[in-house]
């Protein structure tokens, strides 16, 4: 992966004939694609098609198995990145309120912004002083979304962010993410069932091939 290189200032990610996979095996190939600020992309595909592998490649955790990938330095060094990962690494070893949890997410962003933490928690509708460990699966998922949003990132990478969420919670999180997009962030979101109300770019992975469908109206989801 090339970091920054000759990437235009307005691009966050550029893939040219990118192939992704693990352990030398290519899952999908032929991705030529750019990600600009204020765009929203759904990444769709069946289980095991390579959606998470693509995200891991974009995030620098896996090397491309082919082609060329260039990312903005804010993405490469993580300072401009907000992530919701599928797996929660945290062990329940220390007391942790929702505010603590979201606040820890600011580590590495170079900011200590209590206002951003409170705003993000409010946006997803959680009680800030409640113990993170006492939250349900859906509430923890909302806390993860809040944590990514609190960083006010240039690129939001969301891997199944609406898992365990009911309809109201999904709508609330979508609205919070959309507000961040309108503020300039690009959103890459893996989801099995993208909400129909959102008009975005779509990146499909099927039978080892990427298909890119640009947003209908430019940057507006």
């Amino acid at each position: 992966m090339q970091i920054h290189g000759d990437l235009e200032e307005s691009l966050l990610v550029r893939a040219e004939g990118l192939a992704v996979g693990r352990a030398g095996k290519t899952f999908a190939s032929g991705l030529t694609w750019t990600v600009r600020p204020s765009t929203w992309w759904w990444i769709e595909g069946d289980n095991g098609s390579g959606k998470t592998t693509l995200l891991c490649t974009l995030l620098g955790e896996l090397p491309p198995t082919g082609g060329r990938l260039t990312v903005h330095p804010w993405v490469a060094d993580g300072t401009g990145l907000g992530c919701v990962l599928q797996l929660d690494e945290l062990l329940p070893t220390l007391p942790l309120t929702v505010t603590d949890y979201v606040g820890l997410g600011l580590a590495g962003s170079g900011r200590r912004d209590a206002g951003a933490v409170a705003e993000a928690i409010d946006a997803v509708g959680l009680e800030p002083r409640k113990s993170y460990w006492a939250l349900s699966g859906g509430q923890r998922q909302r806390a993860r979304v809040a944590r990514a949003l609190a960083r006010r990132p240039a690129l939001l990478v969301l891997d199944e962010p609406f898992n365990h969420l009911d309809g109201d919670a999904t709508a609330r999180c979508l609205a919070a993410i959309e507000a961040r997009r309108q503020a300039g962030a690009a959103v890459l979101c893996v989801a099995h069932r993208p909400p129909a109300a959102i008009d975005t770019g779509r990146l499909r992975i099927a039978d080892g091939v990427f298909t890119v469908e640009a947003p209908d109206r430019g940057t507006r989801p």
Partner: protein, 268 residues
């Protein structure tokens, strides 16, 4: 207060060493406890004892420096365990192998074995003001690292994948925190022995996490527990003519039992 008013001239420097270590070690123990690696903390101290024993056995000079090297090597092993091995297996290996090696290195060396016995027990009494200065400096460095890097150190230990993605640079933070921890443990081993060092590293943080409701209060409660135990250790040791280090460790054990009785409010 006789222990303080009458004992200060004799043991003032030892009191300062105890209080400084009771500030530094519990703070350093919080990331260890966050990863559920209290056993590893014990293993690191044991590997420090191997460094001490090797320095004495081979006449290598300052034992604390060799303890530092041994602990630093052990932290590297702990952070990069053999493929598909769990941290507690590495910790158990450190405790068992280290325990055997320390004695084997000094077998046939009566003076060395006596020094080893003093290291294994806790002999916080007898420190001079030079040692007190070292302990205060170590405590201030740990405190400063906690203020400046505490959140990054905790995230790097608790959520290494997310930390790496979000610019925390867990590799760099891991090296910095490992060097600090190795230096602190080596200094504490030299000044207070293995028992008190291990107890102050893991027990206050383990107890504090059950009493605290928020993450931010864990360091305060851990340090409070440690300072109370050490201070009462000195007071009871003076009045009952008991070794204060062992009294402090026994009190920390009691604090742990009290913490078990106290249900953590933050668990679901």
């Amino acid at each position: 207060m006789d222990w303080f008013t009458q004992g200060w001239d004799l043991f003032g420097a030892s009191y300062v060493v105890g209080w400084a270590l009771a500030l530094a070690l519990p703070l350093a123990g919080i990331p260890v406890v966050a990863r559920e690696q209290a056993l590893l903390g014990t293993g690191l101290v044991q590997m420090g004892a191997v460094g001490f024993a090797a320095a004495i056995a081979f006449g290598l000079g300052t034992p604390a420096a060799w303890a530092f090297i041994a602990i630093a090597c052990a932290t590297v092993l702990a952070q990069r365990p053999p493929a598909r091995e769990r941290p507690e297996a590495v910790a158990a290996w450190m405790i068992l192998s280290g325990g055997a090696l320390t004695v084997l290195l000094l077998s046939g060396n009566a003076v060395g074995l006596e020094k080893l016995a003093r290291l294994a027990s806790s002999s916080v009494l007898g420190a001079g003001w030079g040692s007190a200065s070292v302990a205060i400096a170590a405590a201030l460095v740990v405190l400063a690292a906690g203020v400046v890097l505490g959140r990054r150190i905790l995230v790097a230990a608790w959520e290494p994948r997310l930390a790496k993605l979000q610019g925390v640079r867990p590799g760099v933070i891991g090296v910095v925190s490992s060097v600090l921890l190795a230096a602190l443990l080596a200094i504490s081993l030299e000044l207070s022995g293995a028992l008190l060092t291990t107890a102050l590293l893991v027990v206050p943080a383990l107890a504090a996490r059950r009493f605290a409701r928020r993450l931010a209060t864990v360091p305060w409660i851990a340090v409070l527990i440690a300072e109370l135990a050490v201070t009462l250790g000195f007071a009871i040791g003076w009045s009952a003519d008991l070794p204060p280090g062992q009294v402090a460790v026994a009190l920390l054990g009691g604090a742990m039992v009290a913490a078990w009785v106290w249900p953590p409010s933050w668990r679901a």
